[in-house]
Symmetry: C2
Subunit: 593 residues, 2 copies
Amino acid sequence: MERSIPELKERIRAGRGRLPAHKVIRGGKLVNVMSSEIYPADVAVYGDMIAAVGDVEAYIGPDTQIIDAQGRYLVPGMIDGHIHSECSKLSITSYAKAVVPHGTTSMISGLDEYISVSGLEGLREVLAEVKASPLKVFWGAPYKTPYTVPQSTVAYNFTKETHAQVQQWPECFGVWETVREFIREEDEDTLGAISQAFHNRLPVFGCAPMARGNDLNGYLCAGVRLDHESYDHEEVVEKMRKGMHMLIRESCVTHFLKENIRAVTEVNPAFARRVSFCTDDVTATDILSKGHLDNVVRLAIEAGVDPMTAIQMATINSAEAYRIDHLVGSICPGRIADILFVDDLHKFNIERVMTNGNMVAEDQRLSYDLKAPERSPVLKGALKCAPTTPDTFTYHVGIQNGTAEVLAMDVKGPFVRKRRDVTLKVENGVVLPDPEQDVALVSVLERFGRNGNKSLAFCSGWKLKRGAMASSAAPDDNDLVVMGADPRDMSLAANYLIEQGGGQVVVANGEILEFLPLPVGGIVSDCEPAEMAAQEARIDAAARSLGSDLPNPMMYMFFLPITAIPDYAITDVGPVDYVNLTTFDPILKLTEG
Amino acid sequence: MERSIPELKERIRAGRGRLPAHKVIRGGKLVNVMSSEIYPADVAVYGDMIAAVGDVEAYIGPDTQIIDAQGRYLVPGMIDGHIHSECSKLSITSYAKAVVPHGTTSMISGLDEYISVSGLEGLREVLAEVKASPLKVFWGAPYKTPYTVPQSTVAYNFTKETHAQVQQWPECFGVWETVREFIREEDEDTLGAISQAFHNRLPVFGCAPMARGNDLNGYLCAGVRLDHESYDHEEVVEKMRKGMHMLIRESCVTHFLKENIRAVTEVNPAFARRVSFCTDDVTATDILSKGHLDNVVRLAIEAGVDPMTAIQMATINSAEAYRIDHLVGSICPGRIADILFVDDLHKFNIERVMTNGNMVAEDQRLSYDLKAPERSPVLKGALKCAPTTPDTFTYHVGIQNGTAEVLAMDVKGPFVRKRRDVTLKVENGVVLPDPEQDVALVSVLERFGRNGNKSLAFCSGWKLKRGAMASSAAPDDNDLVVMGADPRDMSLAANYLIEQGGGQVVVANGEILEFLPLPVGGIVSDCEPAEMAAQEARIDAAARSLGSDLPNPMMYMFFLPITAIPDYAITDVGPVDYVNLTTFDPILKLTEG
């Protein structure tokens, strides 16, 4: 964040009332998160800044617009402490349409998936898109890309040298999602990023699920400030006693609030001071049905947190965790004018939203027409993959006929894959997938034109009886993931996405059953959130028509390339053993006969 | 603060227990300021870092030193949130000897008086002295020097260009003491310093006594984060409701704690979260008789604050206000090992002190021999003043004989000077001071060899019957201040200090009554704190022997050049009217006769 001398002069004059306010909000009840008090107070807004709070009559000029708060509570705009908005498959513009009306006015994000598909050039384009949107992004520079061990392929390798450059950008507010293993293994890029962060006075954001004891101590000694992933409240308690700021994650796939908030409601209310919220991964469907941070606040209140404390968790606590409390998180002079008009502190229904000094949403909809920007070729480039053939997805082995004992990755939840040994038939030198035994083929194809890598392995849990599905959106690499019961359908699915320039597809028996286009980087779309929700419903229905009974078959598939999750994963370099951090051969044993 | 990749690796290994701890503290009760809990916990220390807290047996190696805490409370080292240690007339080395045994292990300081007398070269020398001491200084770069309006003379003018350079230094943690008037007047250097601070992600520390309403709003809109000077608790309440961190000042001359703490004890306990402490100006006498931050904690407890909250105010709250909570303020893995061993949380007697991982004090004394460094010529240079004559201090006017009505600066407290009109005799073209009417002469002489400025005016309140006194320590400029009833004694006093290379002196009837040497920059000494206290007692006794009944005649005198205090001051450019920020002519009217 930069402020020139002329800007400072203008701000000082506006603060003193020497320049009249552009807007004055009258008749609201201020939720003062700094003092934990609620009292009537008016607010004067100049440009994107809160100029004064309290009696602001002296700030009214002839052109000042008066906004009648009609007795509503004035709550600071909320901050999502850790979010990959790309996971929603919505562009920043579309994502803002979904979450801003629910009171989320700031988010902390690495925008890392944009980087993985389009490098710094694409990132700069997205940062420009952010500036034109009503949603603020406090960008954390990813500690590195890709996050995988062994290293997979992405469009751009973000290294410690990149940090030396981008940490100077005013949009950079820290180091994003520094995964525990990379610190434990003393990875040079990761430590280089942290070293730069000390130099540049930036906080280091963590990612340390299940870190306890000595392992946690080592992590903290590297200088990580906060964490957003704890599996139970005891883990939260240990991390907080050791000085971390804790974000409680309530995503569309992991619902941690109810368990984690027990650190505050059952163990010690004093922990509340450094607890905040994040949603990490959310879908359009989820936001439209439940809300966003407003829902998280409601859940916290239901769990026994008083409304003031819950609101502080969604606002000032996050701001303090990320050291952006001079900019956002409270309704105070000098802060950015992000203000929510709320009906009732228990129902917590967001009626109107001001961001950056502008009234932008009402009745949970954006109140103006926000257009997505034109995309440059770097973000709308086609998938740089050669077309595939059925043979691409055919598992050849060194025997002609017999059986193969294989290690299938068995999905046990969106982020957990366990070992399942299963015996498959070998015919004509090929290991056959087996729908009867719930064993499908899964492949990841490098799609940035860098090396043409492909991998092939076996998976269980999707119960695919036939067909295939594919996605060019697949965090964190966003290489092309293809899964299926049939190599011909798998090839068709992959080729269709290559032709269309990205998206998700379900095919069966040589036919496209459903296609969800993702034209921006192959990962997100500028469509309306409601349209995305409808498309998601259709694509999951199509996937289920292949036999799957998972809640989100496509999402469970596209998390497969994440190597930071126990016990197995698959990237373009091969199937990965998370425990040993190596690729592995899924063929355990071949028996001729 | 910098951390290289090899340093990070070593820290991670130490945190994980792969490198044995250098020291382990066993058998203490941890005062966990992060969780507001007290429980038994051991602490492993590696180098200057806390490696682990809790069960640390796994961190013990064959060479690990075991420190038995004997059931004492382990409290984080305390942080003085705003201090000009130079005002104590003790060098950093001597000051550390005074305050570290009382539990003050960190201080936030501008070291601005060193800068005013020795520029950046002297500052670098003092920063090196800090590193060799057990006391940490988190340096704030002064928003500018001098602080005076109209501008007086110092050895080095700290400008916005200086900020562009020094804000890059790892020792720089913010912008120091940004005085309200300079923001209100939109001073270019001040706004340049703030603009640089936004760029460099540094907080801006404030100084806004009596700022309220629109004036406070304008100040906050410039981006100031905290303040250390409020005259009553209502002022504290307004500033905190508007989002400031508040330091309560308890100095040797202004005792604000009892009044300001009412914001917490009477108005709203929730304010406690952002309240911390500072001492601003203290003397050796004061520290030896009352203690330092330990005393402030005791005063807060006496005023009704519970001990945990009072300790948080002295530790983590300050650290958060200054954004140094990743380094100090709590006993957590990865933080600097500053640990106090405390007998009882109400008596709050500091028995032993660890700083930077070393046991350095016991029974309120440093437990090792700390030597001051050799000083370079930049810090031990003689006063660059030409010798004076009695005529230097003789007030000539345009009439031969008669009367002069003069505006005398009448001291009403250490920091308050009011107008007093008084009629003096004119004899032989000279206005005579008048001990009977309590009117003395006061002069400030530029002493850096830059321009030879001198001023002369009249003052009241010291009740000097005879003689003179002088000081080369006189914040914030540290020009040479001379006060007296007799121009001959004034000249002798000034010349004696010039000869000696700095200090404070009291003379009468042509004789030196008492001299307090200040050989380092003419402002501080490397003597022991007890020796300084004895010298202070003697010099004030000598000043009182001239007739003064002020509690600290010398200190009241040397605050006279501070122009930021109502209503009058005097610098080398002349007597200053604080309200209009101009020099003024003290001669109101001349009458011949």
